[in-house]
């Protein structure tokens, strides 16, 4: 047993005053891991979409090129990237300790996210109104659920931002608030990344 060395005078058995782990780093790692599981969730959804994106799975209903609108999707992309930028500016303001600037950035991020969601909701309701709802075909099921799952994530992000808008004036930038702001940034950027994948895979390749 090579690692078996006899104790010496310097051998310590205890470590009084050991600080242990850092809360923010643990939370950040934990949130990264959560994002990993969320990425797996979207991977499975994309896989389902890929399997069901065939003329046969459209079952006589519309196929991708008949329902996606890359131009509209482009404005959605601009809106969501703008939202991420606003949020990032909010975190810059946070770094400077500027509560007002942070709140302003968050409000802008929310507004742009709402614009993004409005486009999406409009898309889906128009389709459904024409009888091409999610119960029309396997393909449309995959399309609707992929878009809706992303939209639900966006909705949770908006709710989270609203909570931060209350907590920042209330607590200032204490450890927990900062940790939440940083995790939310990661979450928000990830949703934008997912959307870019949706845009490329569903809107651009589909069209």
């Amino acid at each position: 047993m090579a690692h078996d060395t006899a104790p010496t005078a310097n051998t310590r058995l205890f470590r009084p005053g050991y600080e242990g782990h850092n809360q923010i780093s643990a939370r950040t790692l934990g949130f990264w891991l959560y994002m990993l599981s969320d990425a797996l969730l979207f991977t499975a959804l994309f896989a389902a979409y890929a399997v069901l994106d065939t003329p046969m799975n459209a079952a006589g209903g519309p196929i991708a090129s008949q329902i996606v609108n890359p131009v509209e999707g482009f404005w959605q992309t601009i809106a969501i990237l703008g939202s991420v930028t606003s949020y990032s500016l909010a975190t810059v303001a946070m770094k400077n300790g500027n509560r007002g600037g942070t709140a302003l950035g968050i409000v802008a991020a929310i507004a742009l996210a709402v614009v993004f969601l409005a486009f999406g909701v409009n898309d889906l309701t128009t389709l459904a109104a024409h009888g091409d709802g999610m119960d029309r075909s396997g393909y449309l099921s995959a399309y609707f659920v992929l878009i809706l799952t992303h939209a639900i994530h966006m909705g949770i992000g908006i709710l989270w931002m609203l909570v931060m808008l209350v907590q920042i004036p209330r607590y200032g930038f204490n450890e927990m608030v900062v940790a939440r702001m940083l995790n939310l940034r990661m979450f928000w950027q990830f949703q934008a990344t997912v959307w870019v994948c949706v845009y490329v895979y569903v809107y651009m390749i589909g069209a």
């Binding site: 047993m1 078996d4 046969m56 079952a59």
Partner: protein
């Protein structure tokens, strides 16, 4: 009999019951099942070559080095490079060998196009018997497109033929299985799968559903007969004289959920030549044959 000597290695032999005909997998009838049985033996023997010594070593070490045996005690020994290479190497060699063997046998018995039967199928295409199989809730419909007959829960084939089955389902998924003859293969609605087997000897076998398909599942057996060509012809005539014809419309009644207790056989003449394809297309178009909760509750119970 070399098989017999192999057999003695099987652990289930400890039960002393293997010579009984009940162990159907030990008594393959045709080329496909024989190959599958050989694979079972080869794999078991090769694996036992490693597992038996390990079991033995564990038993010996466990006895020899028990605390009160005063055997050699080496409290620090936990590493040996040669041994650690060996413990990776030995399983690797075995897996490599068995992997190669596995891939080889897949091609031999592959249910879509078994290598074992290709020679006969190409030299004697007359011996190929096509059967379309439709699985319903909870019966088996066999359509003989070339003989223009159909049956429920009976599969009859002439000795010496190669049976090619096309399989689909009206409702849910299932597996078809005839021990000693035909490998298990999935039967799925809206899809077509294939299963192939040869029929070298006369005999009677039971085929059945193998993958759970709802409340009537346990009653999904069908008789499988391998008969002489003459008997087969007679049987075809008998079925062809049935007044019941199996059009797609008539098939709708057959396809309703129903448990055929006792697997009673029915015959049909003049099945719709496109019936199989129509069933596949219908399932793809969303046709279902719903099973109500009330029906589910009454099956196999006295609450009829």
């Amino acid at each position: 009999m070399r098989l017999k000597s192999y057999l003695t290695l099987l652990p289930v032999l400890a039960l002393g019951a293997c010579s009984s005909g009940d162990y159907r997998l030990f008594h393959p009838i045709n080329a496909i099942a024989t190959q599958e049985w050989h694979a079972t033996i080869v794999d078991t023997v090769v694996m036992l070559l490693i597992i038996l010594p390990v079991l033995l070593a564990i038993a010996i070490f466990g006895w020899r080095y028990r605390a009160n045996a005063n055997a050699a005690y080496d409290p620090d020994w936990s590493h040996n490079t040669v041994l650690e290479l060996l413990v990776w190497g030995v399983p690797f060699v075995i897996v490599a060998g068995l992997g190669l063997y596995s891939v080889k046998t897949i091609y031999a018995i592959e249910p879509y196009k078994p290598g074992l039967l290709q020679k006969q199928a190409s030299t004697d295409p007359q011996s190929v018997l096509n059967v379309d199989v439709i699985n319903t809730d909870w019966q088996w419909v066999f359509i003989y497109p070339d003989q223009h007959i159909a049956t429920i829960d009976e599969l009859e084939v002439p000795k010496g033929s190669i049976v090619k089955m096309r399989l689909t389902s009206t409702s849910v998924s299932n597996d078809i299985y005839i021990p000693q003859l035909a490998p298990m293969i999935a039967v799925m609605p809206g899809m077509r799968t294939l299963d192939t087997f040869d029929a070298p000897a006369l005999g009677e076998y039971t085929g059945f559903a193998a993958d759970f398909s709802g409340a009537g599942f346990s009653w999904m057996q069908f008789a499988t007969h391998i008969v002489s060509q003459d008997d087969f012809n007679t049987w075809v005539h008998k079925a062809a004289s049935s007044p019941n014809q199996l059009s797609y419309a008539a098939f709708q009644k057959v396809a309703q959920p129903h448990v055929n207790v006792g697997a009673k056989v029915s015959y049909f003449s003049n099945p719709d030549p496109q019936l199989f394809n129509k069933v596949v297309a219908a399932a793809q178009a969303g046709v279902v044959y719903p099973v109500s909760s009330a029906l589910t509750k009454s099956i196999g119970s006295n609450e009829k």
